[in-house]
């Protein structure tokens, strides 16, 4: 039998996954209303990964995220209000409106940045891992990357160096099957990240990326392994990007049937089913939690919408840090 999470823990993670999902759903509306600049990459369908692994991290651990990073940030302890304010480009956002969806970061939360460059974050994770090791702490870094990044030189160089120096880094490979329009089997020779990890002498495993509990229990072991100074570990989460690469993507590169098939494996639906089957929550209680989360998201949207735009003069601020005297 599969291991089961403690009931209260499962409820907490269920709630977190709903926060991520409804945050992303709110962005769809805001995007349609023309309130979001540029483009936004939704993580609908991938919530279990953030909730299963990242939510377990300590506050002083680090994550290095991607362009599809809202879930990572929320799971690491990011708050809805400054998240949404940032995505609407407001001065109350995590980055004072200068970063936006693709650059949400907070050193306080331990997020060294979402990243607009595919694979751009992996070297940074090597550095934060090195830093933790040199400073003699037991902080770890979880760096997320996708099937698109799996073929970038940065990914390979980073795995090599992290392994060589036995750095406390979890390589979190979120295989969501598509790099923009290119399916993983058309981009990744061998389609086997574990073999690649083995090539760098990094232990690894694959889990169902839509199964919260599987990720959670794998995460406990992996985090312990990495935190104990055994060097890096690679966790592959096989999942699916339900939305397009960006919101509004026409998705002509895949069949509707394929998407529908994956909708049946919805990670939140699975957790909800477990909660009901185990008698942890009733249907009514699930809806109550959902309504509470929806209210929190609505409150954050309202906060973001009512927040001031950054001052024009701020364009010249935050380029350099003031030097010590």
């Amino acid at each position: 039998m599969n291991k089961q999470m403690e009931p209260q823990y499962l409820i907490d993670r269920y709630r977190l996954m709903l926060v991520i999902r409804l945050h992303e759903e709110a962005l769809k509306v805001l995007f349609k209303q023309g309130k979001i600049g540029g483009t936004t990459h939704l993580c609908i369908g991938q919530e279990a990964i953030a909730a299963g692994l990242i939510a377990q991290l300590r506050k002083d651990d680090y994550i290095v995220s991607t362009h599809r990073g809202h879930g990572h940030m929320l799971a690491k302890g990011g708050e809805l209000r400054p998240m949404l304010a940032e995505i609407l480009g407001k001065s109350t956002g995590y980055c004072k409106g200068k970063g936006g969806s693709m650059h949400i970061a907070s050193l306080e939360v331990g997020n060294l940045g979402a990243n607009g460059i595919v694979s751009g974050g992996l070297p940074i994770a090597v550095g934060s891992g090195l830093s933790a090791k040199m400073r003699g702490t037991d902080q770890i870094t979880v760096v997320s990357f996708g099937d698109g990044a799996s073929n970038e030189g940065n990914t390979h160089e980073s795995m090599n160096l992290a392994s060589l120096w036995k750095l406390p880094v979890v390589f979190l490979f979120e295989n969501n099957r598509y790099a923009v329009s290119t399916e993983v089997k058309c981009s990744m020779a061998g389609c086997d990240m574990m073999k690649r990890a083995a090539g760098y002498d990094i232990p690894s495993r694959v889990v169902d990326g839509n199964d919260l509990e599987k990720i959670h229990f794998a995460g406990i072991e992996i985090i312990d392994f990495v935190r104990s100074g055994n060097g890096p570990y690679l966790l592959e989460c096989d999942t699916y990007r339900i939305e397009g690469h960006y919101y509004g993507d026409a998705m002509i590169y895949r069949e509707k049937e394929e998407v529908d098939e994956w909708r049946l494996k919805d990670p939140i639906g699975r957790v909800e089913k477990a909660l009901l089957e185990r008698g942890v929550l009733t249907e009514k209680e699930c809806r109550e939690i959902e309504a509470e989360v929806r209210k929190d998201v609505e409150d954050a949207v309202e906060y973001a919408e009512n927040s001031p735009e950054p001052a024009i003069e701020s364009i010249f601020e935050d380029i350099f840090t003031k030097e010590d005297a």
């Binding site: 409106g97 751009g120 891992g129 160096l161």
Partner: protein, 326 residues
């Protein structure tokens, strides 16, 4: 008291060693910086004193060397990373340009990036097209980066100490042909401030502005020009960005004529930026168009005679000054 003479490379090593003794969060990483002592012997003796933890030999992976420097800088360390040849910066561009230069701004100011990136540039050694380039404008055009180019041992130490103590990403561009040059270097720690040019010689007829090794050539040119009765005011720019326009403007208000010498290419090289800024800010003081002495728009050839022909030489500087005086 006799002056203490060191080579430029010894000055670089002394700056790093002194800073590493002072602050345990400072460390050096790069290709062959440990036992080998660096491709240009700039970290000779460091691994013996500080150990392999703080003087870290890396694999050949410039993008991760620079990016890991950033990650470490964001999380409490003060890394010095060495990119062996400036040409190899091409392999590290994302980590420097899209990441290190941008994080503070993208994060709304709450990131602090005390990162020093040292590299070596320049032609004149028969290193050919992939080991000889002057690519400083790749970095000066990026907001968020500070770029310094020491030309003498004193500045090689003092500017590097400033870079290491800076809370920002500083690209320190050293010159391969200057590493063996000797000059006065005090033993104590001192800083040469970032953003301050140096007036190496006062004169009244023409302002000669040079960077890095072109300063050495400039000095040789001045000997010739002095014999010809031309009184040159000579400025070593030292920091390319932020550029010390104040010092330039005062000089130009006095001499009204300017020659800029930089080893970068004629198209897009740093002499263009100096010239454009002077045009913007000092046009009314000019009696003649700014003359730029720059490298030809060709890759650096291997053959020594050809290489010498491509990059500025003393005769080119002399000719440039005579042209602006005519």
């Amino acid at each position: 008291m006799t002056k203490r003479i060191l080579t430029y490379r010894q000055a670089v090593a002394e700056a790093m060693a002194g800073e590493m003794r002072r602050d345990p969060t400072i460390f050096l990483m790069g290709e062959d910086v440990g036992r080998h002592g660096g491709a240009f012997a700039c970290s000779k003796g460091l691994v013996e004193e500080f150990g392999a933890e703080r003087v870290r030999d890396t694999p050949i992976c410039e993008s991760v060397i620079a990016g890991a420097g950033l990650g470490a800088a964001l999380t409490g360390m003060r890394p010095i990373v060495e990119i062996m040849y400036m040409d190899f910066m091409a392999m590290a561009m994302d980590s420097i340009v899209n990441q290190a230069a941008k994080v503070k701004y993208m994060f709304g100011g709450h990131a602090v990036v005390p990162l020093t990136i040292r590299t070596a540039f320049g032609a004149g050694r028969g290193n050919a097209a992939q080991h000889s380039q002057s690519l400083e404008t790749w970095f000066t055009l990026i907001p968020g980066l500070i770029v310094v180019t020491p030309s003498i041992p004193y500045d090689a130490k003092g500017l590097l100490i400033s870079a290491i103590r800076s809370n920002n990403t500083v690209i320190v561009i050293e010159n391969k042909l200057l590493y063996g040059e000797q000059g006065e270097v005090p033993e104590e720690d001192y800083v040469v401030p970032i953003g301050k040019a140096a007036i190496r010689r006062e004169g009244k007829d023409v302002t000669l502005i040079a960077t890095s090794r072109m300063c050495k050539l400039g000095e040789e040119a001045i000997q010739v020009l002095t014999e010809d009765g031309i009184d040159v005011e000579f400025i070593d720019l030292r920091t390319l960005k932020p550029m010390d326009m104040e010092t330039l403007a005062v000089s130009i208000a006095k001499t009204h004529r300017v020659v800029v010498v930089n080893e970068g290419h004629r198209t897009g090289g740093f002499s263009n930026e100096v010239s454009a800024r002077i045009m913007d800010e000092c046009f009314s003081d000019l009696d003649a168009p700014v003359i730029r002495v720059a490298a030809e728009d060709v890759p650096i050839p291997y053959n020594g005679k050809l290489d010498a022909e491509v990059i500025p030489a003393v005769k080119d500087i002399v000719a440039g000054v005579k042209q602006v005086m005519s």
